[in-house]
Symmetry: C2
Subunit: 321 residues, 2 copies
């Protein structure tokens, strides 16, 4: 059995690959294909890993990737939110058209394959209730959110018709990501923790009162793998799951940073409002009712202090913890 | 100024064209283009009408249709519900891909053009509240509904970005349609009235208790035209409108038929359950909260008796009324 990860060079793709390689029991496989626009590296040296440079917007890419031996596809590749907003056409090609090609290839070559799609809380927007439920209308206020919502609808219909065995995970904002800031509108949600921990300044473009819906990378990766092990019947009539997260304001994030790393870390964050980023991020929900996800066995972080400690443990081994 | 109607050979396209040709004040125009896969006829002889045989799934079709002189596009062309369910790929091509091509052509050639898209109550499905509101999640249980929902999302994002000036109308089930039964799952909703009025038998495939959300063709056509006259700002952050309708059970429809045309008309209807049709139609909502649509000035039928009388007046002039 083969497992494929698109966006395999990305941070979550690498974390997921490492988790799959280290766990031989949950999802046993013979081959792990990491595909990305630039050739990924294996996160761990392992003869089962194959790394592939592949542009998913090319007509033959999906066919090349998915054959009858594929057991699970984790489709993580995407143009992130601010980038999809500034380059609408590229966003449509990568976020929607490439996903559609993968669905078609799965339908033709591997209809029993588990097709795990990463959607986002960015599908929501506009007037929202304080707590978003599964019955809440999707009104994206960004092209990234619209493109993810397009994929959700298409995937649910492919699943309903038995063309693919798909599962759609709406990801919370991931914090704390390691590495550099990226073009996601939510990039600051990691930056305001990561940079101060590294002794560097960070600028927060949104209000301290803004509530974010967050998940640590470790929890999300374990939820990816869990999604691939659930029987299809447990999803009922919708393959879409609002993944669990924790609702935390920017202020509370910084208070947690202070608790874990001291006041001098918090002092490295300054507030410089950016209307474009604020408009996108403030349109996302800050809280969800995730009873269904928890009943399906998806995990949630304990609190944001733990999330920061997990980041320090995983990404700053020199600090100890 | 030019007005285009796709699906111009269809029943609603013809009714809309006739209404536009007879009304010189609401939407004045120099040219009315009726496009359809088969060459349409002009409903009324008028030098302003141009009839065009055009396959919208062809790559150049949208470009051919929309130029800078276009003021309004009424995009009615679609593969209907049961047909889109049995031929998924054709449904995607016509209902989604062709709409996307029209959006792209509008974006390039006529961004100020009013793009009126006919969506459907079929975007809803699954567990629904007794009364559907604007905040109710879209969970289509048919490929037709999924394809219409895909278009809605895409159109709203094109409108948000200023690429097109779009308006999306979610149509109730239209009753009473003249002519022959078609491949719409809701075809019976006209058949059980039309056939008895013509002295012919009709088979109802759903339960008498099923509530339908209905609009007469005349009311829908006047709402099409109204949608093209509203200022964009009145729509707020969503261009999607649940059009007003009346909530009527099959039983109430037949009671109205009895009132208007006598008991012998009702006796021509027999009930033969069809699970495939029932599954699709029963997944649609039977009632909506349409405060927003009414506030925007959209019209609603008085009651189903009036709807039947309007059909007899429009389509059975020999009977008188």
């Amino acid at each position: 059995m083969k497992i494929i990860i698109t966006g395999g060079a990305g941070f979550l793709g690498q974390r997921l690959a490492a988790a799959l390689l280290q766990d031989n029991t949950t999802l046993p496989f013979d081959e792990l294909v990491l595909a990305d626009i630039q050739q990924p590296n294996a996160p761990i040296a392992d003869p089962r890993v194959r790394c592939l440079a592949l542009d998913l917007t090319q007509p033959s890419a999906a066919e090349q990737l998915i054959d009858s031996d594929c057991g699970v596809l984790f489709h993580l590749a995407a143009i992130v939110s601010s980038h999809a907003e500034s380059d609408f056409d590229l966003g449509m090609q990568v976020n929607f058209d490439a996903t559609r090609q993968l669905l078609e290839a799965a339908r033709r070559n591997a209809p029993a394959m588990k097709f795990i799609f990463t959607s986002s809380l960015a599908v929501f927007g506009g007037q929202l209730p304080a707590t978003v439920t599964d019955d809440c209308a999707v009104k994206p206020q960004s092209s990234y959110g619209a493109q993810k919502a397009l994929c959700e609808l298409l995937i649910n219909d492919y699943a309903r018709k038995g063309f693919v065995d798909a599962r759609v995970l709406r990801l919370p904002t991931i914090s704390v990501r390691p590495g550099k800031p990226n073009k996601a509108a939510s990039s600051f949600a990691s930056g305001i923790i990561r940079e101060p921990l590294h002794g560097e300044p960070s600028v927060c473009p949104v209000s301290p009162e803004l509530a974010l819906w967050l998940s640590s990378p470790g929890t999300v990766v374990s939820n990816f793998i869990h999604a691939a092990t659930l029987p299809a019947a447990q999803f009922g009539t919708s393959r879409i799951v609002n993944l669990p997260g924790i609702s935390v304001t920017v202020q509370q994030m910084l208070a947690a940073l202070g608790e874990v790393a001291g006041e001098q870390a918090c002092a490295r964050v300054s507030f410089v409002p950016d209307e474009a980023i604020n408009r996108i991020v403030a349109s996302w929900p800050g809280n969800f009712d995730v009873q269904r996800a928890l009943a399906l066995g998806f995990r949630v972080d304990e609190n944001f202090q733990q999330v920061i400690r997990a980041f320090m443990h995983d990404e700053m081994p020199q600090v100890g913890s």
